[in-house]
């Protein structure tokens, strides 16, 4: 069984079958991309993985534990976190506070520790702040620690979202169109950054439309169209797959 095993998941909204018997697997340390035309059901798959939606059929098993039809809290607790298609930061909170909310689930001190500022509180609060600072430093946002999230340029807001997801001590990070709205230079930087994440041991699942990013970073690709999986394989296989090209692919840029 794979690190993340997704078997025949289906999601139906009334008469509309948004996700139809989709199966895929992700091994530890892989970067797997899910691509497909807009409205294919990719984000719905993410929502099923993260507990936003219940699944009507099938199962999702992470590291041997079923995680389908549980709460988002449970999914994050098991070690899967995500970013959003349209950025959902906490706009009136500072960058560091945004990332600190990511550490919330791993922070053990409670109400009475906060009220009486116990040694446990002081130690853990400092640890979590340092953790957040380190994540932000690694991602190149050290200078933005004090800034309010809504004041950041778009590309940096995306990075903060990723930093926040990392702060949950996730093992698998789901990135939902991280390159959206980025210029070529920013996407290159994103590529580099995702590779660094993988080198650090994270497993990444990517939804992306930017083919430069997808083809250059993915170990494997799954293609979804109209809720169904229509192809899977290595980047070069997908690039040459007729049904994929028909469904979706435009011009593909590949490094040698």
């Amino acid at each position: 069984m794979a690190y993340l095993q997704v078997n025949s998941i289906t999601k139906q909204f009334g008469g509309l079958i948004a996700v139809d018997n989709v199966s895929f697997e992700v091994e530890k340390g892989e970067i797997v991309s899910i691509i497909g035309p807009n409205g294919a059901g990719k984000t719905t798959v993410f929502n099923m993985l993260t507990g936003v939606y219940t699944i009507d059929n099938g199962e999702i098993i992470f590291d041997g534990t079923p995680i389908h039809n549980t709460t988002p809290y449970n999914v994050v607790n098991q070690g899967i976190s995500r970013t959003f298609q349209n950025i959902r930061l906490f706009p009136n909170m500072r960058v560091i506070e945004n990332v600190l909310v990511g550490t919330h689930i791993r922070t053990e001190y409670g109400f009475f520790d906060s009220l009486f500022r116990t040694p446990r509180y002081k130690k853990e609060e400092a640890e979590k702040v340092m953790h957040a600072v380190d994540i932000l430093r690694d991602i190149g946002l050290e200078d933005r620690i004090n800034d309010y999230a809504q004041n950041l340029p778009y590309g940096e807001q995306r990075k903060v979202e990723i930093a926040r997801a990392i702060a949950t001590d996730a093992k698998i990070i789901l990135l939902d169109e991280p390159a959206a709205g980025m210029n070529p230079q920013e996407s290159e930087e994103l590529l580099r950054f995702i590779r660094e994440l993988r080198d650090k041991g994270y497993t990444i699942i990517l939804i992306e439309h930017d083919m430069n990013v997808v083809m250059n970073i993915s170990d494997r690709i799954y293609v979804i169209d109209h809720g169904k999986k229509i192809a899977q394989g290595f980047p070069n296989e997908i690039a040459n797959n007729q049904s994929v090209i028909e469904a979706y692919l435009g011009g593909v840029k590949k490094d040698a």
Binding site: V76, T103, H104, S114, T168
Partner: protein, 352 residues
């Protein structure tokens, strides 16, 4: 370009002002303490003293509501209900059981926060306006119960001869300024508790819920639990204020805890600045003191509270004191030490 320049200059102004305050915070703090502590001795009469104490009580109420509404974003239009539960419970405990103020107040606040729990739990799923309507209903139900449960609450006649608080046998009254200082102590405690809660993971959880509840959930914040916690804390603080109010004034009836009072509390929070501590004192001072200025103001004060609500939400929703701090984030001491250690480590490697 013009709007951005305006924003930058105001940010600059805020930064300069905050830096000044930070620099002189000790003398400013001492001056404020001196004014507050010396207030009874500058020749104020009982009338002014009463107003000052009411400003204190409404600051407590505002701080309580602020936790729920200003930080967690759950709008309550029925906080007079918790105020009443605190007041009535504390009064009954001290009248019928002869308990002292502290015991009565804790009993009042505990029952109020229990009602906060009962109110919070089923309303978890309700969004925005729907939650507010339910809280409004809660306030009305409390008043109805107080008016009709004659056996316990004495109905519309209310409770009288509620004893003043006494500390170590000394009775605290308006005359000996004991009540005023007790108000200060309670207000200071409540303010401290609010600050301690807000500047912790709990405060961040509250704020994340207000900012984007879905994102908060997806980051592993148990939003339902924290919304209920916000209700409970808010109700507890409001209950304490109610207990103190009853003890100070000696007589309470259901008409002291109407929807108008709920409106007043939320107007204070919005006028002063939702999500700020400082705004609660200023908002309270303004809205409690101003009706005393003229007979006309006094008679129409609830109209004015409503107008304040609407005008503030339209033109300055962040409130009078609701600016965003331009000071850097305050790191915990241990983290500052760690950062210093690293800097020194870096410098040493550079020297080598």
């Amino acid at each position: 370009m013009d709007k951005k320049m305006k924003k930058d200059t105001s940010k600059n102004f805020i930064f300069k002002m905050e830096t000044l305050i930070e620099k002189y915070k000790i003398p400013i703090g001492i001056a404020c303490a001196a004014v507050l502590l010396g207030f009874p001795y500058i020749g104020v009469n009982q009338y002014i003293m009463r107003i000052a104490i009411m400003i204190g009580i409404y600051s407590m109420l505002a701080l309580g509501l602020n936790i729920l509404t200003g930080y967690t974003g759950q709008v309550s239009l029925g906080h007079a209900g918790f105020y009443a539960i605190g007041a009535y419970t504390a009064s009954l405990v001290s009248l019928k059981l002869g308990a002292g103020f502290i015991v009565s107040a804790i009993a009042g606040a505990t029952l109020a926060s229990f009602c906060g729990l009962l109110l919070g739990l089923p309303t978890l799923r309700l969004k925005g306006t729907y939650l507010s309507i339910v809280t409004l209903g809660f306030g009305e139900i409390v008043k109805m119960v107080l008016m009709n449960w004659d056996k316990v609450t004495n109905g519309t006649l209310g409770l009288k001869n509620i004893p003043r608080p006494s500390v170590f046998g000394l009775k605290l009254t308006l005359a000996n300024n004991g009540i005023y200082y007790m108000m200060l102590v309670l207000l200071a405690l409540i303010t401290l508790v609010c600050i301690l809660i807000i500047k912790s993971k709990i405060g961040r959880a509250f704020m994340s819920i207000k900012e984007d509840e879905l994102a908060a959930t997806m980051m592993g914040v148990k939003t339902t639990r924290y919304k209920v916690l916000a209700f409970v804390i808010s109700a507890f603080i409001t209950g304490i204020a109610g207990a103190f109010y009853a003890s100070m004034i000696g007589f309470i009836d259901p008409n002291s805890f109407t929807f108008d009072i709920s409106t007043l509390i939320i107007s204070i929070v919005i006028l002063g600045g939702m999500g700020t501590i400082r705004g609660m004192f200023v908002g309270s001072a303004i809205l409690i003191a101003f009706p005393e200025v003229s007979r006309f103001m006094m008679d129409y004060r609830f109209v004015v509270y409503g107008i304040v609500l609407v005008v503030m939400m339209r033109f300055r929703p962040q409130g009078l004191l609701g600016w965003k701090s331009q000071m850097p984030y305050k790191f915990p001491k241990l983290a500052v030490q760690e950062l210093e250690k690293r800097k020194k480590g870096n410098m040493q490697t550079q020297q080598v």
